[in-house]
Symmetry: D2
Amino acid sequence: MWNREIKLSIFGESHGNGIGAVLDNLPPGEEIDMEQLLAFLARRAPQNGKAGSTARTEADTPEILSGLLDGRTTGAPLCAIIRNTNTRSGDYGNISSLARPGHADFTGHIRYEGFNDVRGGGHFSGRLTAPLVFAGAVCGQILERRGIYTAVHILSIHGVQDTPFDTVHPDLQAAAEVKRKSFPVLDNRQGERMQVEIERARLGQNSVGGVVECMVTGVPAGIGSPMFEGMENDIASIVFGIPAVRGLEFGTGFAAAKLTGIEHNDGFYSEDGQVKTKTNHHGGILGGITSGMPIHFKVAFKPTASISLEQDTIDYKNNTNQKLVIKGRHDSCIVPRAVPVVEAAANIAVLSQLLQHHKG
Amino acid sequence: MWNREIKLSIFGESHGNGIGAVLDNLPPGEEIDMEQLLAFLARRAPQNGKAGSTARTEADTPEILSGLLDGRTTGAPLCAIIRNTNTRSGDYGNISSLARPGHADFTGHIRYEGFNDVRGGGHFSGRLTAPLVFAGAVCGQILERRGIYTAVHILSIHGVQDTPFDTVHPDLQAAAEVKRKSFPVLDNRQGERMQVEIERARLGQNSVGGVVECMVTGVPAGIGSPMFEGMENDIASIVFGIPAVRGLEFGTGFAAAKLTGIEHNDGFYSEDGQVKTKTNHHGGILGGITSGMPIHFKVAFKPTASISLEQDTIDYKNNTNQKLVIKGRHDSCIVPRAVPVVEAAANIAVLSQLLQHHKG
Amino acid sequence: MWNREIKLSIFGESHGNGIGAVLDNLPPGEEIDMEQLLAFLARRAPQNGKAGSTARTEADTPEILSGLLDGRTTGAPLCAIIRNTNTRSGDYGNISSLARPGHADFTGHIRYEGFNDVRGGGHFSGRLTAPLVFAGAVCGQILERRGIYTAVHILSIHGVQDTPFDTVHPDLQAAAEVKRKSFPVLDNRQGERMQVEIERARLGQNSVGGVVECMVTGVPAGIGSPMFEGMENDIASIVFGIPAVRGLEFGTGFAAAKLTGIEHNDGFYSEDGQVKTKTNHHGGILGGITSGMPIHFKVAFKPTASISLEQDTIDYKNNTNQKLVIKGRHDSCIVPRAVPVVEAAANIAVLSQLLQHHKG
Amino acid sequence: MWNREIKLSIFGESHGNGIGAVLDNLPPGEEIDMEQLLAFLARRAPQNGKAGSTARTEADTPEILSGLLDGRTTGAPLCAIIRNTNTRSGDYGNISSLARPGHADFTGHIRYEGFNDVRGGGHFSGRLTAPLVFAGAVCGQILERRGIYTAVHILSIHGVQDTPFDTVHPDLQAAAEVKRKSFPVLDNRQGERMQVEIERARLGQNSVGGVVECMVTGVPAGIGSPMFEGMENDIASIVFGIPAVRGLEFGTGFAAAKLTGIEHNDGFYSEDGQVKTKTNHHGGILGGITSGMPIHFKVAFKPTASISLEQDTIDYKNNTNQKLVIKGRHDSCIVPRAVPVVEAAANIAVLSQLLQHHKG
């Protein structure tokens, strides 16, 4: 459970009856546009033919059980469920006790004393990001009505770079357009190169990783708190819940470690009564509190753990050394589908912080 | 407040009566060696003459008010306070309403509606890491008694690299030694080069950033949870509470985004009944749960925001554009003093997760 | 959300698509007997012809979406949903903006700014106790396997008293039997008198209240904490979430205020290595921590707020004074159906405390 | 820790270095009048010669370490400590392993595995209510500035009744006056009778219990939430943290169980645009949410557990049956000193709920 001003319970296992989310503490009376919500969810859903995407297709249409009436939030907990329909458990039969490297098979087995549902990754499955995206889509609509907009794109895949966002003078139109693309990059030429990398990995029964960049504009200054309840901490505590995330950096991030103070410090200036900075190395957050500049962070994703090349592993039931070849349907790069998941994470964290400081 | 299995309240302002911490939910009966605890705290304290360190010296001796009897935890909340003694408020008089770039002066002013204590950074001061280190030192002693050991060192300063930890076959003796060094690096030659960088920054009235590397050995497999209650999330939610942190990566981190699956996946093998991996790209955590391999992460610190070069800023009380020259005592690089702070953060998060899963 | 060692999210509105619960942090591998679970739920369900019960009948069969595999908990969040099927909204049409006295219509309207679902009481409906009972039934099975047994009965209705439990030498067989009764009292003669009171109230278009007594046996000594995290606090924080609850007392409760110390103090003695008390005025809890004696508490329920007699009220939309006659189906006494709800509350609180102190 | 919108950590042991509280999440800029605060604390402090009060006297002057500057809250955690000065440990030497009936000696010993500080009751001591009162006094001043006023008095001692509050048309002047009395009752004649009861108990080396009544006026309608996050739940979760509390009832409470619906329901009416009820059986709360009528509740206190009469007990170290005579200084009735503690609990819970719904 994510346990802040907003509470988010995500439940479900990949091959169980269903998955879903309960969002607690949303303000009442917020309009939720279902079409827009489904469009957001569709960006995460696997697509046949889409670069890097698994062949498994699912309706993934959430059913809202509570918390919404006549298109508006009631203020009571909002619960949505998504049925698991297209579940070919057979594919996973032969790996039931061989730990897939890079997966939580072994660690989950120890943690849950052998009782966890291992089919399709169970509660560890990337499929659990669907309710996370649902929650983030709801929060995003509430934020947009307050003039807050979250932009995301693929920043790199296997080292191929997209143009980064301008986080000082953000181009909101470009940010809106990139979301509508089937392959969300600013520079389509680089996007094609990325897709070549993904296709090469797929053909080699291998996989590749990448980085997602996220920027949130329109957040007023003064949202957050120092130390453990800051904006970074809240974003981090969701982002590290996304499967395959290995790193998170705000503003200039790790590169800041190589700079000097005069290079990194963002000078303030006042223009038309608005306080701004000339650069945005600080990523819109100082002391855990927003500065009014766009919030900016990057998230590193490891290459998909499921690959069809032979790997060394153990049978975790009898502790013997084994060889493993994973069959089945897998994304050779999960980064394109991770883009809306990162957006969702940002939306949830930012709305939660906003509500904590300006009720309603 | 850090609000997990262990609850940690850190209070205080830089120039108030005192600072401190309340640690709730520690197991009873744990021996706490005060000498070892003070030695840990001393590693964070500013030292005259130490590279990059402010000239302000303080006793920084914590007084334990509760939760400890005859050298053992009682199980009741453990509270320690540290008096503020050496506070030369005068130095800060002239910047009371000029926002120092890279600091939380402006964001804190908005957040707290002008009522926050701005003297010496107030509640945002790096001085607040002293009670964090206290808490981490207590947790570290409890972990060590369970065979868990946290190793930390400076990995880089302004681009100068130390030898990284071997996170597959950790050298515990080297890890123990590096803590005792006044400048905690594995390769002293590189440490000298780092100190040259720091001194150059100081002479130029500038500052430099760096990276701290942390490794926790001896954590049993199976500690943690998927999604929002994982080991990474808990570590992240403290680490991003340390002032000046800009990035956090686990295992291979951002570099993983450039690898392929077969390069990044860590094959499992069984040896003497113990499950291990041949490499440790996963940083000891899979699906939010420990694998039994060392937990491994890196933390990026920006260059110290307080520099004496002239900077553009605003007066946040009348919103006018101004020039600022910061006087006073400042670290030209906070990374050396951040090393025990990162260790403390790891100790708190790991002990909290451990207690959540194995009471007592 | 109930936010302790166990986390419990209850969602749903009376006339929405469905209601349900998410239980987080259950131990893995616990067997859940579905038949026993349904039998528990049936005790709360409205029954035609049962004294005091509404005529609305529902299947109320929970569908488990996640967290259970092959009859055992997986350790992942357990979610169950119950569809709303038999919803005759028409009955409620005429009271949509007349505040029913004793109900949350007016307070909910202010709290949710007019956006809450008011049909059938919405999220305030007593129907929401069904997922609470589901959660308590699950927890109860986990407790029973550890030798902990929760006994409940109607202690009084409209002043007619049942025999109280013997909380020093509990009669476990009688406690088990009383649950199986359609009208759960120890003394059937008194039960008949209570039913006469209920029937009289029904005929008079009125309603009556009562008291439920609860006792939990087999809880080991040493579970709980002083001050805010005690056993009483946790029980109270759920019990006061049950609609219509007006009071809660532990052990001798309010009557203790009339006693002297020598009358109220329970002397300890040791027998066969077991520490016991000769009386149980303390209700099995001292300083927030269990003593090993049965936990004992009583819960006061007000008379059902929905009555068909004419009442003074306001139209909360235009703030005019009005007369109200409530039509529709209502329990003239909710106490019989509240009995398993109180049991559920006890189960959840006690299991949560137990897991907090003895993991697994 | 009390873990709601406001977070309250209370630490300390009766004979340790000090006790105190950390209050997190107070709004910034709130004026705190220290004189008024000390006057509040003085009402809880033991007084020589005061009916029922222990002879132990302490300065009990809190030192504020953080969170307050120039008489206003800064918004950072507010920490206050109180030194333990007058600690005659000798008195307790002979009972170190004899469990005092009605105390947490035995349960605490099991819970903390023998490591808890038992001197003077340790963390279980009634002395820990001093920081609770401190916190409540701070919250009370913040509430008063918003027109919210908490009234408390002794409702009964050993069966002798004071006049109850009028919770429909509250007499605020009488409520203010009763606080200033050294023996806080509305009817001084009854107060004298109560003091006779206390004195009789003292002479008999015995003790007596009683009931405290609390009313909070001026709380706007619409504050709270249904189920687990309601106003009752929050009040209960603090009230049951006060030592010696055995029962809590809202509005008509347990007596409601003997009423019919038409007797108990409070009809609404509108007057001058204000919604009111003609009676206040509901205690100002419906569905967990305030109605705008005064919040009203009663708290039952057991007779002081420390009595000097001989009692049966065990030595919890060797599990032998023993006789116990408690020496030392004890209140023969804690109810008079509990009055400001109940007020403090109400203040904390109500302010927390208010801030949750109307930030700032």
